[in-house]
């Protein structure tokens, strides 16, 4: 592998981590979804590049799914859902931006230290992809736990899943990647439809513990 192909792959994967960070500080839903669309575009480019350098044509399918489904259809659908639900003005941060960013930096450091240490002999590209992928997964989890709105939790989950796709394409010659990305797309479609049909706005409408007990049939 020559230097340039490696650098481009590295740039795209690193770009994904950067966009994940951008998600952490978006406090408006529309902005969050736009950043997610960007995330999906960078993923599509990254996967397409992997398909090109590994000469693995089936990965172009995964790239196409990422581009068409995740960068176009889902964001457009979510925009509509937000308007229908009337939550487009909502501002939500369960945890302040500063602590979230610090936590994010900590998670990325953790995944670098962990993945680079356990894979000294692996193919350098796959190794870096794995480290980046774990960072993206952990940042996606962070988005999910710092948000209370169902839509932004879904966005967090989708960014997490992008990290998985990155890891799967980075692992050279891994079978079933396309199938898995299709399976994930179906899963996400289900979630989005679920949000829309059932008008799920927040995990919990209240933080009143008494009301929660009532909710779960544990009322005394």
């Amino acid at each position: 592998m020559n230097g340039l192909t490696f650098d481009i792959a590295h740039l795209l994967a690193g770009g994904l981590v950067l966009v994940s960070f951008m998600m952490l500080y978006q406090d408006r839903l529309f902005a969050l979804i736009n950043v997610f669309a960007l995330h999906a575009i960078v993923l599509a480019l990254s996967v397409a590049w992997q398909a090109y350098i590994q000469d693995a044509h089936h990965l172009y399918v995964t790239a196409a799914i990422a581009l068409i489904f995740k960068a176009i259809i889902i964001p457009v659908g979510l925009h509509r859902i937000i308007q229908r639900l009337g939550i487009h003005r909502d501002i939500e941060t369960a945890v302040g931006i500063g602590p979230t960013m610090l936590a994010g930096i900590g998670l990325v450091t953790l995944s670098m230290v962990l993945m680079l240490r356990v894979t000294p002999d692996a193919d350098p590209l796959a190794r870096e992809d794995l480290a980046f992928a774990l960072s993206i997964i952990l940042l996606g989890l962070l988005v999910m736990v710092t948000r209370r709105n169902a839509v932004s939790q879904v966005v967090g989950f989708m960014s997490l899943e992008n990290g998985l796709v990155l890891a799967a394409t980075g692992a050279k010659g891994m079978p079933l990647v396309v199938e898995i990305s299709v399976a994930f797309s179906i899963l996400i479609a289900f979630i989005v439809i679920g949000v829309f049909l059932f008008r799920i706005r927040e995990r919990f409408d209240t933080v009143d513990v008494g009301a929660l007990d009532d909710y779960r049939g544990e009322h005394r």
């Binding site: 169902a150 010659g173 799920i200 049939g217």
Partner: protein, 483 residues
């Protein structure tokens, strides 16, 4: 005979798929409920025929060996009895208007797809395929948990969905790491995901990578096993969904995830330099056991009570498999079978009780043995069994777990016994009021199907008295395989 046994594997997978397609199109719910039972019975027969025929050679995708055949037979058996229970349960739900005919079509089709997903997870020889199958089974149960469309049911389904998705995402990352570890040794392509190939070469895999992979897999699939602290979805999903689904969730779906964990544990055990998976599993098992045992005391909802009891028992099972060794594995395997049978029987009973009393609130259910002796005594036997009293089967398996632990790690046995006794107290405390107190609530006659619950309980009782030698030899063999 190879062709025939391959057909049996195909039947275990294809019957549910075909049935699902058929059930989705047929409008009459009486016919579909019957068809659901028939399809489940056929699947069970196909699974049992796997026992007697020669096993097919493991292929790139499918595998039948001594380990998974236990799970498949148990899965299809409980799937069949639950479908019988479901037929009478569903008829009542339709009468009271909680479900519509269209709901039922969807419900029956989903039931068969779920059976397909679980069977596929068991017979898959490919860790990628196994992951897809577990995801499929999860998705269908999510849809069924939310079927009542009440606020609580949707909340439960949503929580299950999000936590389950995060769980399977972590499991997929673990799966990718296993592939990465295998790829330099086995070579690129499908072979590096085939379990039988992996286990053969596991000794030469990079141990550090395997360690990290196992942590992700344990957390990911552990979420689905319901191990504390990843259990938050489990009580809600059990309490708010239809009761047949609670029965298969507790009795079967938890086992599917457990099976996945066991497969990867074997892989790790075959690699000499990797960390021992045992201590991790022991820690998670004990945490779940003790946490759930304490939580049992505060329950007010009867289905939630037994959901926490499932967490407790999965904790014991994971603990036993974590201890390892022939005796503890044997005990874990036996406990898993006994728990599946008993817990699904309890949910069958609770389902009918909740329908008669129109509530799941424990305080409003009293004196069942007087008003509904058939159901009341089934509940008494079930709870006595699940609490671990002799002479029922769970007593025996718990006794084996405890005694094998005492022999090897006496210090670990103390928290184990503490947790079991704690749970025992909570369950009997609740049982006395529900079964023997002053009758309260509706005394409408029960239109229950007693056969599924009593046949399960009879099996558990028989296993507590006498285990047939062929069964013991078979389980011992599997226990040795598990290392």
């Amino acid at each position: 005979m190879t062709a025939f046994s391959l057909d049996a594997v195909a039947a275990v997978l294809l019957i549910p798929v075909g049935a699902a397609a058929l059930l989705a199109t047929l409008p009459n719910y009486r016919i579909t409920a019957g068809l659901n039972v028939a399809a489940s019975l056929l699947t069970l027969l196909a699974a049992v025929s796997l026992l007697v025929t020669d096993r097919p050679q493991p292929g790139q995708y499918l595998l039948v060996d001594d380990l998974n055949i236990v799970f498949i037979v148990l899965n299809t058996f409980v799937g069949f009895t639950t479908s019988v229970f479901s037929a009478s349960y569903i008829a009542h739900e339709l009468d009271t208007g909680r479900l519509t005919a269209a709901n039922l079509r969807f419900y029956h089709a989903m039931y068969q797809i779920m059976m397909f997903g679980m069977n596929l997870a068991f017979v898959s020889n490919n860790i990628g395929l196994m992951w897809v199958a577990v995801e499929l089974a999860t998705l269908t149960t999510v849809l069924m948990v939310g079927i009542y469309r009440t606020h609580e049911a949707l909340e439960a389904a949503w929580k299950y969905f999000i936590l389950g998705s995060v769980g399977i995402a972590l499991a997929l990352f673990g799966t990718i790491l296993v592939y990465m570890a295998a790829q330099p040794i086995v070579g690129e392509g499908t072979n590096a995901m085939v379990w039988t190939v992996l286990i053969e070469h596991a000794a030469r895999f990079d141990p550090a990578l395997l360690n990290v992979a196992f942590v992700f897999l344990l957390l990911g699939y552990g979420t689905k096993v319901g191990l504390a602290p990843l259990h938050a979805w489990l009580p809600d999903a059990h309490a708010e969904g239809p009761t047949p689904i609670s029965a298969v969730l507790s009795g079967l779906l938890l086992n599917v995830a457990l099976y996945a964990v066991l497969r990867f544990k074997l892989l790790l055990a075959a690699s000499p330099d990797a960390i021992a998976p045992g201590p991790l599993m022991i820690t998670m098992g004990l945490t779940s056991l003790i946490f759930a045992a304490f939580m049992l005391y505060r329950r007010r909802d009867i289905k939630r009570l037994f959901a926490y009891s499932s967490i407790e028992h999965m904790g014991i099972i994971v603990f036993a498999f974590g201890m390892g060794g022939p005796l503890a594995n044997f005990a874990g395997l036996l406990h898993m079978v006994m728990h599946s049978l008993t817990k699904s029987a309890i949910f069958f009973t609770v389902g009918h009780i909740a329908q008669i009393k129109r509530t799941q609130n424990i305080a409003d259910i009293r004196g069942l043995t007087e008003t509904h002796p058939g159901l009341g005594w089934a509940l008494v036997i079930g709870v006595v069994a699940i609490a671990g009293l002799p002479p029922l089967g769970i007593f025996m398996s718990e006794f084996l777990v405890v005694s094998s632990t005492f022999a090897r790690q006496p210090l670990l046995a103390m928290p184990l016994v503490f947790g079991i006794l704690l749970a025992f107290g909570a369950l009997l405390l609740r049982l006395t009021g529900v079964a023997f107190g002053e009758p309260r609530g509706s005394t409408a006659p029960a239109e229950a199907s007693y056969v599924p619950m009593y046949s399960h309980l009879a099996l558990v009782f028989a296993a507590g008295i006498y285990l047939p030698p062929p069964l013991v030899i078979w389980f011992q063999h599997v226990a040795n395989l598990l290392g």
